[in-house]
């Protein structure tokens, strides 16, 4: 018993930075879960990826201005993310390039620019910090920021839930009964950027999107309605966060990649054993049909 205690609870009891990290992960999971599910349902998985890279040059500018300061890097990230989100939308509307292609173009440029900016003034340790995060350095201010973004996200999602869902699966219908589709889309993109910036503090710009997408795609195998899929994603994200931290503590491994890899294991398990549409459920149905 005390052995299990030592593995699973002692790290959080003994060290305040582990408690901070855990709270940050749980809060991130609450916001990123539903946002990720909606990204997947809107077939915008790659857009999430692209936006997470797009945050980087903004963070880099914040870093150049005032070093590893929470507020300037956060603000820079939000501004850069929003600019790329809106620009990509505009490029695809004005030219014949599709939205995913214009996002891909934007994020390659952003990633290169961001890495260049940070390398210009900072050390390679700073670069690693920004790219992969350091959840173990999450302080009170960062916790407040993550919690605020999560709270705002859940509130706004609750308000725009209905039109957002309709805009996902039948945009033509929303257009025919209401003119608000474009506004809803933009509000949603803003939420994606905010959550990526929240995630970047703990997980880094490269890993933040993992917390959003991996639980979301895994959740698709466990639930058949939007709210239940989002709930499943939150649970999976929370479990990954917790398990990832435990693994990184005992294995002395970087926390961001540990968490994302744990989420990856959850994904692999869901693909094989999930309740709906997984390999196992397909196999089971096939047996019913032949037998």
């Amino acid at each position: 018993m005390s052995y299990l205690w030592a593995i699973f609870l002692a790290p959080f009891q003994d060290f305040i930075f582990m408690r901070h990290a855990l709270v940050a992960c749980l809060a991130l999971a609450l916001g990123c879960g539903p946002i990720g599910v909606l990204l997947v349902l809107r077939r915008m998985s790659l857009v999430g990826d692209a936006l997470s890279h797009a945050v980087l040059p903004g963070v880099a500018v914040g870093f150049l201005v005032s070093g590893l300061s929470l507020y300037s890097m956060t603000l820079g990230g939000i501004v850069a993310g929003l600019i790329v989100a809106l620009l990509s939308g505009a490029v695809s509307r004005v030219t014949l390039l599709r939205e995913d292609a214009s996002f891909a173009a934007m994020y390659l440029v952003s990633l290169a620019l961001g890495v260049l900016l940070i390398s210009w003034r900072g050390s390679s340790l700073d670069l690693i910090h920004v790219l992969f995060g350091s959840i173990l350095a999450v302080d009170d201010a960062a916790l407040v920021l993550v919690a605020s973004i999560t709270t705002a996200t859940l509130l706004i999602l609750a308000i725009i839930y209905r039109p957002l869902i309709v805009e996902c699966f039948d945009p033509g219908y929303l257009r025919s009964v209401s003119g608000k589709g474009a506004v809803i889309h933009i509000v949603f993109l803003v939420l994606v950027v905010l959550n990526l910036v929240a995630g970047f503090q703990a997980l880094g710009t490269l890993m933040a999107v993992g917390m959003m997408m991996l639980p979301a795609v895994s959740a698709r195998f466990w639930a058949r309605q939007v709210w239940s899929t989002a709930l499943a994603a939150v649970v999976i994200a929370m479990l990954s966060g917790y398990a990832g931290l435990v693994i990184s503590y005992h294995g002395n491994l970087p926390s961001g990649p540990s968490i994302i890899l744990t989420a990856g294991l959850g994904y692999a398990f869901s693909v094989v054993c999930g309740a709906h549409g997984s390999i196992y459920s397909r196999y089971r149905t096939a047996q019913h049909l032949t037998g």
Binding site: L41, I159, I160, R162, P163, I165, V166, C168, F169, D170, G172, Y173, R175, S176, V177, S178, G179, K180, R220, A223, R224, Q225, V226, S228, T229
Partner: protein, 247 residues
Amino acid sequence: MASIVIHDLTLGYDGHPAVHHLSGTFEPGSMTAVVGPNGSGKSTLLKGIIGILRPFTGRIDLGGLQIFRIAYLPQQAEIDRSFPITVRDLVALGLWERIGMFAGMSDELWRKARETLAAVGLEGFERRPISDLSEGQFQRVLFARLLLQDAPVILLDEPFNAMDNRTIADLLQVVNRWHAENRTIIAVLHNYEQVRSYFPRTLLLAREPIAWGDTAEVLTPENLQRAQRMSEAWDETAEACPLGEVC
């Protein structure tokens, strides 16, 4: 109720007109089939009326009717059928005018949604996810949503395409009921049999209007031949309307 009046309408995509110089009136309470060869601008016309496409020239006068009061059923391909949503949630969206973005569904509205599902032959399907439905069942769900929209004008784009006969018969009953309730119905159709037996008015399009009037007078062998000839003519000359030329 006002009529929908089309004034010398030309519209299409990316500068390529699909409908040329169409003028005419959909009378209030009329039931019109829009027919014509493939690529003759039938769907384009519906998209123009609902406001998805802006006219190049001419205009569509809705006679004061708010555009959101027009119910529109597009071709099925535009809806994501794998989306995790239940039948009753999808159908309830037909009540958008009552519930809007934020209002809750009262027990009475849920009852109404349930009754409407029963009216299209889908009693007991409320909690099923839409991904479980067959083509025909899904189209019934969309018709239930249209029923709940309670709109004075209803546009249907190939509503019976690839449906089984039983579904077509049931859904035609629904359309007939709308007609009896004096709603204006405009439907893009392929099957001339259906048009002849159910639709009093017909618009025959081949990019240009060939004929518009009572179905018996429009669907004559001469008119149909003319429409066919015109559609073959575009196949040879890729662009129907050369730049700078009035046509």
